[in-house]
Protein backbone atom coordinates (compact mmCIF):
# COMPACT_ATOMS: atom_id res chain seq x y z
CA UNK A 1 0.00 0.00 0.00
CA UNK A 2 1.73 3.24 -1.10
CA UNK A 3 1.99 5.73 1.76
CA UNK A 4 3.32 9.26 1.86
CA UNK A 5 5.64 10.45 4.64
CA UNK A 6 5.98 14.21 5.02
CA UNK A 7 8.29 15.82 7.57
CA UNK A 8 8.36 19.45 6.40
CA UNK A 9 11.70 21.13 5.95
CA UNK A 10 12.94 23.96 8.15
CA UNK A 11 10.37 23.88 10.95
CA UNK A 12 12.52 22.26 13.63
CA UNK A 13 10.80 18.89 13.91
CA UNK A 14 12.24 16.90 16.81
CA UNK A 15 12.42 13.88 14.50
CA UNK A 16 13.43 14.59 10.94
CA UNK A 17 14.36 18.24 11.49
CA UNK A 18 18.11 17.63 11.44
CA UNK A 19 20.58 15.70 9.29
CA UNK A 20 18.87 12.57 8.04
CA UNK A 21 17.38 11.82 11.46
CA UNK A 22 14.09 11.01 9.75
CA UNK A 23 15.72 8.02 8.03
CA UNK A 24 14.92 5.41 10.70
CA UNK A 25 11.29 6.57 10.57
CA UNK A 26 11.26 6.19 6.79
CA UNK A 27 12.74 2.71 6.99
CA UNK A 28 10.17 1.64 9.57
CA UNK A 29 7.21 3.06 7.65
CA UNK A 30 8.52 1.55 4.40
CA UNK A 31 8.53 -1.85 6.06
CA UNK A 32 5.03 -1.31 7.43
CA UNK A 33 3.51 -0.02 4.19
CA UNK A 34 5.56 -1.90 1.62
CA UNK A 35 5.94 1.30 -0.41
CA UNK A 36 6.84 4.68 1.05
CA UNK A 37 7.04 7.90 -0.91
CA UNK A 38 9.02 10.58 0.89
CA UNK A 39 11.20 13.60 0.26
CA UNK A 40 14.89 14.49 0.50
CA UNK A 41 14.59 16.24 3.87
CA UNK A 42 13.68 12.89 5.40
CA UNK A 43 16.33 10.85 3.60
CA UNK A 44 19.36 13.14 3.37
CA UNK A 45 22.04 12.80 6.01
CA UNK A 46 24.83 14.57 4.09
CA UNK A 47 27.47 11.82 4.08
CA UNK A 48 24.93 9.33 5.44
CA UNK A 49 22.19 7.71 3.37
CA UNK A 50 20.19 4.52 3.05
CA UNK A 51 18.92 2.96 -0.12
CA UNK A 52 15.77 0.86 0.08
CA UNK A 53 13.82 -0.31 -2.95
CA UNK A 54 10.59 0.22 -1.00
CA UNK A 55 11.31 3.96 -0.61
CA UNK A 56 10.66 6.41 -3.45
CA UNK A 57 12.74 9.62 -3.17
CA UNK A 58 10.56 12.47 -4.45
CA UNK A 59 11.36 16.17 -4.06
CA UNK A 60 8.71 18.40 -2.49
CA UNK A 61 7.27 20.02 -5.63
CA UNK A 62 6.67 16.63 -7.23
CA UNK A 63 5.44 15.19 -3.94
CA UNK A 64 2.79 17.93 -3.76
CA UNK A 65 1.66 17.14 -7.33
CA UNK A 66 1.52 13.40 -6.65
CA UNK A 67 -0.62 14.09 -3.59
CA UNK A 68 -2.88 16.28 -5.74
CA UNK A 69 -3.19 13.51 -8.39
CA UNK A 70 -1.37 15.60 -11.01
CA UNK A 71 1.67 13.30 -11.29
CA UNK A 72 2.31 9.57 -11.29
CA UNK A 73 5.65 8.04 -10.32
CA UNK A 74 7.46 5.40 -12.34
CA UNK A 75 10.13 3.51 -10.39
CA UNK A 76 13.37 3.12 -12.33
CA UNK A 77 16.52 1.04 -11.93
CA UNK A 78 18.85 3.97 -12.47
CA UNK A 79 18.84 7.67 -13.24
CA UNK A 80 21.58 9.57 -14.98
CA UNK A 81 22.25 12.33 -12.46
CA UNK A 82 23.49 15.61 -13.90
CA UNK A 83 25.47 17.80 -11.53
CA UNK A 84 24.61 21.51 -11.45
CA UNK A 85 27.18 23.69 -9.68
CA UNK A 86 26.77 27.32 -8.64
CA UNK A 87 29.41 29.59 -10.19
CA UNK A 88 29.88 31.12 -6.71
CA UNK A 89 31.50 27.94 -5.34
CA UNK A 90 35.22 28.50 -4.69
CA UNK A 91 37.68 26.27 -6.63
CA UNK A 92 38.71 24.10 -3.65
CA UNK A 93 35.12 23.54 -2.54
CA UNK A 94 34.16 22.77 -6.14
CA UNK A 95 36.89 20.13 -6.29
CA UNK A 96 35.58 18.56 -3.10
CA UNK A 97 32.14 18.20 -4.71
CA UNK A 98 33.53 16.73 -7.90
CA UNK A 99 35.51 14.21 -5.83
CA UNK A 100 32.35 13.16 -3.99
CA UNK A 101 30.64 12.64 -7.34
CA UNK A 102 33.62 10.63 -8.57
CA UNK A 103 33.62 8.62 -5.35
CA UNK A 104 29.94 7.76 -5.85
CA UNK A 105 30.67 6.70 -9.42
CA UNK A 106 33.63 4.54 -8.42
CA UNK A 107 32.36 3.04 -5.16
CA UNK A 108 28.59 2.90 -5.65
CA UNK A 109 28.36 2.50 -9.42
CA UNK A 110 26.19 5.56 -9.92
CA UNK A 111 25.75 7.16 -13.36
CA UNK A 112 26.67 10.80 -12.79
CA UNK A 113 27.22 13.56 -15.29
CA UNK A 114 27.56 15.80 -17.11
CA UNK A 115 28.58 18.72 -14.92
CA UNK A 116 27.31 22.22 -15.70
CA UNK A 117 28.25 25.44 -13.92
CA UNK A 118 25.76 28.30 -13.80
CA UNK A 119 26.56 31.34 -15.96
CA UNK A 120 26.17 33.65 -12.94
CA UNK A 121 26.40 33.26 -9.16
CA UNK A 122 22.98 32.17 -7.87
CA UNK A 123 22.97 34.56 -4.93
CA UNK A 124 21.30 32.42 -2.25
CA UNK A 125 19.69 34.40 0.57
CA UNK A 126 18.30 33.01 3.82
CA UNK A 127 15.20 34.23 5.65
CA UNK A 128 12.94 33.31 8.53
CA UNK A 129 9.15 33.55 8.26
CA UNK A 130 6.93 35.05 10.91
CA UNK A 131 6.28 31.54 12.23
CA UNK A 132 9.98 30.78 12.73
CA UNK A 133 10.10 28.48 9.70
CA UNK A 134 13.15 28.89 7.48
CA UNK A 135 12.71 30.31 3.98
CA UNK A 136 15.06 31.74 1.41
CA UNK A 137 15.46 32.90 -2.14
CA UNK A 138 17.78 33.33 -5.10
CA UNK A 139 18.94 36.51 -6.80
CA UNK A 140 19.41 34.71 -10.13
CA UNK A 141 16.80 31.95 -10.55
CA UNK A 142 17.19 32.38 -14.32
CA UNK A 143 20.81 31.18 -14.15
CA UNK A 144 19.73 28.11 -12.19
CA UNK A 145 17.10 27.15 -14.75
CA UNK A 146 19.37 27.75 -17.75
CA UNK A 147 21.94 25.38 -16.27
CA UNK A 148 19.19 22.83 -15.63
CA UNK A 149 18.04 23.10 -19.23
CA UNK A 150 21.60 22.44 -20.41
CA UNK A 151 21.82 19.32 -18.27
CA UNK A 152 18.49 17.99 -19.52
CA UNK A 153 19.53 18.65 -23.12
CA UNK A 154 22.76 16.74 -22.46
CA UNK A 155 20.87 13.65 -21.33
CA UNK A 156 20.56 14.03 -17.57
CA UNK A 157 17.41 12.35 -16.27
CA UNK A 158 17.76 13.75 -12.73
CA UNK A 159 19.58 16.77 -11.38
CA UNK A 160 21.67 17.26 -8.26
CA UNK A 161 22.16 20.95 -7.59
CA UNK A 162 24.86 22.45 -5.37
CA UNK A 163 24.52 26.13 -4.52
CA UNK A 164 26.93 28.21 -2.45
CA UNK A 165 25.14 29.09 0.77
CA UNK A 166 26.16 31.92 3.10
CA UNK A 167 28.49 30.74 5.88
CA UNK A 168 26.98 31.51 9.26
CA UNK A 169 29.52 29.84 11.56
CA UNK A 170 29.04 32.30 14.43
CA UNK A 171 25.27 32.63 14.34
CA UNK A 172 23.07 31.76 17.33
CA UNK A 173 20.72 29.91 14.96
CA UNK A 174 23.47 27.54 13.85
CA UNK A 175 24.63 27.02 17.44
CA UNK A 176 21.07 26.10 18.44
CA UNK A 177 20.73 23.72 15.50
CA UNK A 178 24.02 21.98 16.33
CA UNK A 179 22.88 21.70 19.95
CA UNK A 180 19.69 19.98 18.84
CA UNK A 181 17.12 22.67 19.59
CA UNK A 182 16.98 24.85 16.52
CA UNK A 183 15.57 25.15 13.04
CA UNK A 184 17.66 24.20 10.00
CA UNK A 185 18.25 27.71 8.63
CA UNK A 186 19.30 26.44 5.19
CA UNK A 187 16.37 24.15 4.53
CA UNK A 188 13.84 26.69 3.31
CA UNK A 189 16.13 28.07 0.60
CA UNK A 190 17.11 24.54 -0.41
CA UNK A 191 13.45 23.65 -0.92
CA UNK A 192 12.88 26.74 -3.05
CA UNK A 193 15.80 25.76 -5.30
CA UNK A 194 14.69 22.18 -5.80
CA UNK A 195 11.02 23.17 -6.28
CA UNK A 196 12.05 25.65 -8.95
CA UNK A 197 14.15 23.11 -10.84
CA UNK A 198 11.60 20.29 -10.62
CA UNK A 199 8.74 22.50 -11.74
CA UNK A 200 10.69 23.90 -14.69
CA UNK A 201 12.27 20.69 -15.92
CA UNK A 202 9.84 17.97 -14.87
CA UNK A 203 12.77 15.87 -13.65
CA UNK A 204 13.66 14.53 -10.20
CA UNK A 205 15.86 17.16 -8.55
CA UNK A 206 17.43 17.67 -5.15
CA UNK A 207 19.84 20.11 -3.56
CA UNK A 208 22.96 20.10 -1.41
CA UNK A 209 24.39 23.32 0.03
CA UNK A 210 28.09 24.17 -0.41
CA UNK A 211 29.52 25.53 2.82
CA UNK A 212 32.91 26.04 4.43
CA UNK A 213 33.70 23.42 7.09
CA UNK A 214 32.67 24.21 10.66
CA UNK A 215 35.00 24.15 13.68
CA UNK A 216 34.68 21.05 15.87
CA UNK A 217 31.82 21.17 18.39
CA UNK A 218 32.41 18.52 21.09
CA UNK A 219 28.80 18.84 22.27
CA UNK A 220 27.27 18.32 18.85
CA UNK A 221 23.79 16.77 18.95
CA UNK A 222 23.83 13.29 17.35
CA UNK A 223 20.94 14.28 15.08
CA UNK A 224 23.13 16.95 13.43
CA UNK A 225 26.27 14.79 13.22
CA UNK A 226 25.66 13.52 9.69
CA UNK A 227 26.46 16.95 8.31
CA UNK A 228 29.87 17.13 9.99
CA UNK A 229 31.44 13.94 8.67
CA UNK A 230 32.72 15.24 5.37
CA UNK A 231 33.37 18.25 3.19
CA UNK A 232 30.05 18.20 1.35
CA UNK A 233 26.36 17.31 1.75
CA UNK A 234 26.25 15.77 -1.71
CA UNK A 235 26.61 11.99 -1.35
CA UNK A 236 23.09 11.43 0.01
CA UNK A 237 21.57 13.52 -2.79
CA UNK A 238 23.36 11.54 -5.50
CA UNK A 239 22.31 8.23 -3.95
CA UNK A 240 18.71 9.37 -3.52
CA UNK A 241 18.41 10.69 -7.06
CA UNK A 242 20.13 7.66 -8.59
CA UNK A 243 16.88 5.69 -8.16
CA UNK A 244 14.35 8.49 -7.85
CA UNK A 245 11.18 7.67 -9.77
CA UNK A 246 10.41 9.27 -13.10
CA UNK A 247 7.73 11.99 -12.92
CA UNK A 248 4.81 11.50 -15.31
CA UNK A 249 1.99 14.02 -15.72
CA UNK A 250 -1.24 12.37 -14.58
CA UNK A 251 -3.45 11.44 -16.20
CA UNK A 252 -2.20 13.09 -19.42
CA UNK A 253 0.79 10.97 -20.37
CA UNK A 254 0.96 8.33 -17.67
CA UNK A 255 -2.48 6.82 -18.00
CA UNK A 256 -1.57 4.96 -21.17
CA UNK A 257 1.38 3.44 -19.35
CA UNK A 258 -0.69 2.28 -16.39
CA UNK A 259 -1.89 -0.80 -18.22
CA UNK A 260 1.55 -1.91 -19.35
CA UNK A 261 3.68 -1.00 -16.35
CA UNK A 262 2.38 -2.62 -13.16
CA UNK A 263 5.07 -0.85 -11.13
CA UNK A 264 3.66 2.59 -11.97
CA UNK A 265 2.61 4.39 -8.79
CA UNK A 266 -0.72 6.00 -9.55
CA UNK A 267 -1.94 8.74 -7.23
CA UNK A 268 -5.23 6.87 -6.76
CA UNK A 269 -3.31 4.08 -5.07
CA UNK A 270 -2.16 6.28 -2.21
CA UNK A 271 -3.36 4.63 0.99
CA UNK A 272 -2.25 7.03 3.73
CA UNK A 273 -0.31 10.19 4.45
CA UNK A 274 1.82 10.50 7.59
CA UNK A 275 2.76 13.97 8.86
CA UNK A 276 3.66 15.79 12.09
CA UNK A 277 0.46 16.59 14.02
CA UNK A 278 1.36 20.29 14.30
CA UNK A 279 2.41 20.78 10.66
CA UNK A 280 -0.63 19.77 8.62
CA UNK A 281 -0.93 22.94 6.54
CA UNK A 282 1.33 21.98 3.64
CA UNK A 283 0.20 21.44 0.07
CA UNK A 284 0.78 17.67 0.04
CA UNK A 285 -1.16 16.93 3.21
CA UNK A 286 -4.09 19.16 2.30
CA UNK A 287 -4.27 17.74 -1.22
CA UNK A 288 -4.22 14.15 0.00
CA UNK A 289 -6.86 14.85 2.64
CA UNK A 290 -9.07 16.51 0.01
CA UNK A 291 -8.94 13.26 -1.97
CA UNK A 292 -10.09 11.24 1.03
CA UNK A 293 -6.70 9.72 1.87
CA UNK A 294 -6.48 8.83 5.59
CA UNK A 295 -4.12 11.10 7.54
CA UNK A 296 -1.92 9.76 10.34
CA UNK A 297 -0.98 12.76 12.49
CA UNK A 298 2.10 11.98 14.58
CA UNK A 299 3.23 13.74 17.72
CA UNK A 300 6.53 15.27 16.51
CA UNK A 301 6.93 18.75 18.04
CA UNK A 302 8.06 21.65 15.86
CA UNK A 303 7.79 25.46 15.74
CA UNK A 304 4.28 25.32 14.22
CA UNK A 305 0.89 24.61 15.78
CA UNK A 306 -1.15 23.89 12.65
CA UNK A 307 -3.16 20.90 13.86
CA UNK A 308 -6.08 19.00 12.38
CA UNK A 309 -8.37 20.66 14.92
CA UNK A 310 -7.10 24.15 14.09
CA UNK A 311 -7.65 23.53 10.37
CA UNK A 312 -11.05 21.91 10.92
CA UNK A 313 -10.04 18.83 8.94
CA UNK A 314 -12.24 16.34 10.76
CA UNK A 315 -15.25 18.66 10.62
CA UNK A 316 -14.66 18.76 6.85
CA UNK A 317 -14.87 14.97 6.68
CA UNK A 318 -11.22 13.95 6.77
CA UNK A 319 -10.13 10.69 8.39
CA UNK A 320 -7.50 11.70 10.96
CA UNK A 321 -5.74 9.03 13.01
CA UNK A 322 -3.56 10.26 15.89
CA UNK A 323 -0.27 8.56 16.75
CA UNK A 324 1.91 9.36 19.74
CA UNK A 325 5.02 8.15 17.94
CA UNK A 326 6.20 6.90 14.57
CA UNK A 327 6.20 3.39 16.04
CA UNK A 328 2.47 3.77 16.61
CA UNK A 329 2.09 5.27 13.13
CA UNK A 330 3.76 2.14 11.70
CA UNK A 331 1.13 0.01 13.44
CA UNK A 332 -1.65 2.14 11.98
CA UNK A 333 -0.13 1.89 8.50
CA UNK A 334 0.08 -1.87 8.85
CA UNK A 335 -3.56 -1.99 9.92
CA UNK A 336 -4.63 0.06 6.91
CA UNK A 337 -2.51 -2.11 4.63
CA UNK A 338 -4.19 -5.24 5.99
CA UNK A 339 -7.67 -3.75 5.75
CA UNK A 340 -8.16 -3.60 9.52
CA UNK A 341 -10.22 -0.80 11.00
CA UNK A 342 -7.87 1.15 13.30
CA UNK A 343 -10.80 1.56 15.72
CA UNK A 344 -10.89 -2.21 16.26
CA UNK A 345 -7.42 -2.03 17.80
CA UNK A 346 -8.39 0.50 20.48
CA UNK A 347 -10.28 0.29 23.73
CA UNK A 348 -12.83 1.17 24.89
CA UNK A 349 -14.71 -0.21 21.86
CA UNK A 350 -18.07 1.48 21.52
CA UNK A 351 -21.14 -0.46 20.28
CA UNK A 352 -23.08 0.60 17.21
CA UNK A 353 -26.22 2.64 17.96
Amino acid sequence: MPALLVIPTGIGCEQGGYAGDGLPVARLLAAASGCLITHPNVMNGASLYWSDARIQYVEGWALDRFAAAQLALRPVRQQRVGLLLDQAIEPELRSRHLQVADGCRAALGLEIGPVVTTDAPLGVTLARGGSGASWGSLVRPDALLRAGEQLRAAGATAIACVARFPDDAGSPELAAYRAGNGVDALAGAEAVISHLLSEHLGLPCAHAPALSPLPLDPSLDPRAAGEELGHTFLACVLVGLSRAPELLPWPASAVAMAGVDPALLRPEALGAVVAPAAALGGAAVLAAVERGVPLIAVDNPCVLAVTAAALGLEQAGATVLSARSYSEAAGLLLALREGLSPASLQRPFEPLR
Binding site: W61, A133, S137, D142, V192, H195, A283, V306, L311
Partner: protein, 75 residues
Amino acid sequence: MSQVGFAAAPLQPLTLQPLQLLLEPGPGALRPHIEAALAAHGRPLRWAVTAVLTTAEGKTALQIEAVVTNGVVGV
Protein backbone atom coordinates in the same frame (compact mmCIF):
# COMPACT_ATOMS: atom_id res chain seq x y z
CA MET B 1 7.76 24.32 -18.13
CA SER B 2 7.94 27.69 -19.73
CA GLN B 3 5.26 30.29 -19.27
CA VAL B 4 3.21 31.56 -22.17
CA GLY B 5 2.60 35.28 -21.82
CA PHE B 6 -0.54 37.07 -22.94
CA ALA B 7 -0.04 39.07 -26.13
CA ALA B 8 -0.07 42.48 -24.49
CA ALA B 9 1.96 41.58 -21.39
CA PRO B 10 5.62 42.60 -21.52
CA LEU B 11 8.00 39.78 -20.58
CA GLN B 12 9.75 40.26 -17.24
CA PRO B 13 12.84 38.40 -16.03
CA LEU B 14 12.14 35.57 -13.60
CA THR B 15 12.03 36.67 -9.96
CA LEU B 16 11.14 34.99 -6.69
CA GLN B 17 8.95 36.83 -4.22
CA PRO B 18 8.57 35.80 -0.56
CA LEU B 19 5.08 36.43 0.81
CA GLN B 20 3.18 36.30 4.06
CA LEU B 21 -0.61 36.50 3.83
CA LEU B 22 -3.57 36.27 6.18
CA LEU B 23 -6.52 34.52 4.63
CA GLU B 24 -10.03 33.97 5.97
CA PRO B 25 -10.93 30.63 4.41
CA GLY B 26 -14.28 30.21 2.68
CA PRO B 27 -16.39 27.07 2.66
CA GLY B 28 -14.97 23.91 1.12
CA ALA B 29 -11.44 22.64 0.73
CA LEU B 30 -8.65 24.93 1.96
CA ARG B 31 -6.10 24.38 -0.79
CA PRO B 32 -7.98 26.01 -3.68
CA HIS B 33 -8.63 29.10 -1.53
CA ILE B 34 -4.95 29.35 -0.62
CA GLU B 35 -3.68 28.87 -4.17
CA ALA B 36 -6.16 31.42 -5.54
CA ALA B 37 -5.04 34.00 -2.95
CA LEU B 38 -1.38 33.39 -3.81
CA ALA B 39 -2.06 33.53 -7.55
CA ALA B 40 -2.94 37.20 -7.15
CA HIS B 41 0.77 37.78 -6.40
CA GLY B 42 2.41 35.39 -8.86
CA ARG B 43 2.72 31.67 -9.56
CA PRO B 44 2.77 29.75 -6.26
CA LEU B 45 6.03 27.79 -5.98
CA ARG B 46 6.05 26.70 -2.33
CA TRP B 47 3.64 27.51 0.47
CA ALA B 48 2.36 26.35 3.83
CA VAL B 49 -0.18 27.35 6.43
CA THR B 50 2.14 28.33 9.28
CA ALA B 51 -0.42 29.48 11.86
CA VAL B 52 -4.15 29.48 12.45
CA LEU B 53 -5.24 32.74 14.11
CA THR B 54 -8.46 34.28 15.37
CA THR B 55 -9.26 37.77 14.07
CA ALA B 56 -10.62 40.63 16.18
CA GLU B 57 -14.06 39.73 14.78
CA GLY B 58 -13.66 36.19 16.06
CA LYS B 59 -13.14 34.66 12.63
CA THR B 60 -10.49 32.08 11.76
CA ALA B 61 -7.60 33.32 9.64
CA LEU B 62 -4.82 31.26 8.10
CA GLN B 63 -1.30 32.66 8.08
CA ILE B 64 0.29 31.58 4.80
CA GLU B 65 4.04 31.79 4.16
CA ALA B 66 5.02 31.32 0.53
CA VAL B 67 7.36 31.99 -2.33
CA VAL B 68 5.80 32.90 -5.69
CA THR B 69 7.47 33.38 -9.05
CA ASN B 70 6.95 36.14 -11.58
CA GLY B 71 8.33 36.57 -15.07
CA VAL B 72 10.01 34.09 -17.40
CA VAL B 73 13.44 32.56 -17.92
CA GLY B 74 15.70 33.96 -20.58
CA VAL B 75 14.60 37.60 -20.62
